[in-house]
């Protein structure tokens, strides 16, 4: 066997390029497992070899564990990096590879299972002493005042057997609760055949803040600060930044300590993210979930701390020292990432595909572009709409916002509609500039802009 380990890249697009770069960084040989649509892609050209695993639709290629595993065997891979999405958090591929003695670049399958389910993830968090959202079942819908006090207002009444947004009521005070609880129980019986209800605290103006962790698999953790990902549209992140602006030292410490405790409880292996809801109207901090993979927004952390998380993932998977430093809770720089999607922000973010006829990226200090696209690239219709990530670093947040604004202005992508106009708008908005907007901010602001234009 050659002493150059083969890394199978089981993904596409910008993250495939990123994993290939990390493989080259550690002197490994990247092999791409590609669908037919991607067999001549820029990532395919960047890899040492391409193995076509299936047809263009993801459910016939990138989502097939046995096809990826077969490619790993054929490639003689020492490790498989699943990127994000696709099979990255599925124990299935991980276990198939284990049988073949091929390393999985990610946590153990039992970790994937433990954090993959909301209920068990919540239990893990409770075990680790991490704050979780208050929730309580209603025994008697006519006797709810004490429960309401216990949860706090505003709160949501949810039908236990409801789902998909049905059977949920927002309650802002005890009077409403007393009035609505019996009603909701009756409706739940009618709608779901079961009147069981529970109460949950409602955070209408909370931020999405997450912590980047890296576990050695034995309970020890590196913590690489936090990211704010509150610029969201329908739970899709649009802009991320590191560090999260305006966090008090106390809150930051709670987030970081909680994340460290989770890594310890899970004996977490490799890169992961612990997501929290950070309320702007109370001091509450609530655990949301653990993302057991590298995330789209990992570059802001890399640039802020001067580390290579993907190379560290590969090293750890190969049994090597991940070569990561111990760092402080706040990085010495501010970094913003803008997701450039092939979506038309002026037409309800409708995705589009086609040929990129002209492409110019800004250059200069602190600018990083993670992408697969290039001039002449035909952006395919089969996969998600992320075209590129524009990452900008500066000495502090104000400078980073200014640099990001200039960078967005100096991108040219012809041939497709992109989310660039949305970025220009957000970066210039006083609320964003002030920092600390909640996840509920973008939707109505963008709607209001649209109305002001018509």
């Amino acid at each position: 066997m050659s002493d150059v380990p083969v890394i199978l890249v089981a993904n596409r697009g910008e993250i495939a390029m990123r994993i290939i770069a990390a493989a080259r960084r550690i002197g490994a040989s990247p092999v791409l497992a590609a669908s037919v649509a991607d067999k001549d892609s820029p990532a395919a050209r960047a890899a040492d070899r391409v193995i076509v695993i299936g047809a263009s639709p993801a459910n016939q290629s990138y989502l097939k564990p046995e096809q990826v595993a077969q490619a790993a065997v054929m490639a003689g891979a020492a490790a498989v990096h699943p990127g994000y999405g696709f099979l990255s958090e599925q124990p299935a591929l991980c276990e198939l590879l284990e049988e073949e003695g091929i390393a999985w670049v990610g946590p153990r399958p039992e970790t994937l299972r433990a954090v993959g389910d909301k209920g068990s993830a919540r239990q893990v968090a409770i075990d680790a002493g991490v704050p979780v959202g208050a929730g309580v079942e209603i025994d008697d819908p006519t006797n709810v005042v004490a429960l309401g006090e216990q949860i706090g207002y505003p709160l949501l009444i949810k039908a236990i057997h409801g789902g998909g947004g049905r059977g949920i009521r927002l309650v802002t005070n005890p009077e409403e609760l007393v009035e609505l609880a019996p009603q909701a129980a009756a409706e739940a019986v009618a709608a779901f055949g079961n009147g069981a209800l529970y109460l949950e605290r409602y955070y209408g103006r909370a931020r999405h803040v997450e912590v980047q962790v890296f576990g050695d698999g034995e309970g020890n953790a590196w913590i690489f600060g936090d990211r704010d990902c509150s610029v969201q549209r329908r739970h899709q992140k649009l802009i991320e930044e590191c560090p999260a602006p305006g966090l008090s030292e106390k809150r930051r410490q709670l987030l970081h300590d909680s994340s460290r405790a989770l890594v310890k409880v899970l004996r977490y292996r490799g890169a992961g993210t612990v997501e929290f809801l950070v309320d702007t109207e109370s001091e509450d901090v609530i655990f949301l979930e653990v993302n057991a993979r590298i995330q789209v927004e990992h570059p802001v952390t890399e640039e802020a701390f001067g580390v290579d998380l993907v190379a560290a993932q590969l090293r750890l998977a190969l049994g090597l020292d991940p070569e990561l430093p111990d760092v402080g809770p706040v990085p010495p720089a501010a970094v913003i990432e803008m997701r450039i999607n092939a979506e038309d922000p002026n037409a309800d973010f409708q995705p589009n595909s086609g040929d990129i006829t002209r492409l110019v990226w800004p250059k200069g200090p602190g600018i990083r572009i993670d992408t697969q696209i290039e001039e002449g690239y035909r952006f395919p219709p089969f996969y998600d709409s992320l075209m590129a990530k524009l990452i900008v670093r500066a000495h502090n947040r104000d400078a980073a916002v200014a640099a990001a604004t200039a960078a967005v202005r100096n991108v040219t992508i012809d041939g497709l509609k992109t989310t660039l106009p949305m970025h220009a708008y957000v970066l210039a908005h006083p609320d964003f500039i002030a920092g600390g907007i909640p996840t509920s901010w973008f939707g109505p602001v963008w709607e209001a802009r649209k109305e002001s234009l018509t």
Binding site: I51, V52, I53, G54, E66, Q67, Q70, A71, V73, M74
Partner: protein, 166 residues
């Protein structure tokens, strides 16, 4: 040229020429001949009979009944392929290891020269220990196998050639 261009090769060439600056082009390789014009002011030779206005024109040299048919380039891409009978292949429907025999030592499912129907099993692809029978997918005579027994194959890789006109 040692090998004849495949139908895909021809399509690729046409696509490349279409993106080029050439107004017209003529390529002949063995018995494959391609002549293209973006303005049709050329090719006054006997072959130019039957032009369709200023449409690009493809002439294949394959000796099939459709070979001299004039048709627009765009239409030629997948449907047009009047499936040159001799160049037709059976492609791997999945990644895996291809076996021509039901078990080691057994006789091959089919041999070159043998006639198959669309549902005739021509081999097995093993993917992560699961055995998947591979059928010919079309009727004809298997002319050759392009992979060796127990070769690893990728999705879409040609496994065998089949003469569907036979």
């Amino acid at each position: 040229m040692g090998e004849q261009p495949s139908w895909q090769d021809v399509l690729d060439l046409i696509s490349q020429l279409n993106e080029s600056d050439y107004e017209s082009a003529s390529v002949q390789v063995g018995d494959v001949s391609i002549r293209l014009s973006k303005n049709d002011a050329v090719f006054d030779a006997p072959t130019t009979a039957g032009r369709v206005g200023a449409q690009p024109r493809i002439e294949t040299g394959f000796d099939t009944p459709t070979a001299s048919a004039t048709q627009p380039a765009a239409a030629a891409i997948p449907t047009a392929a009047p499936a040159a009978a001799l160049g037709d292949t059976i492609d791997a429907p999945m990644i895996g290891v291809f076996y021509r025999r039901p078990s080691p030592g057994a006789a091959p499912f089919v041999e070159p020269g043998q006639r198959v129907e669309a549902d005739t099993t021509i081999g097995i692809i093993e993917i992560m220990k699961l055995m998947n029978p591979i059928v010919a997918g079309k009727a004809g005579v298997i002319t050759d196998f392009l992979v060796t027994d127990a070769d690893a194959v990728e999705f879409g890789q040609p496994l065998a050639t089949i003469d569907t006109s036979a």
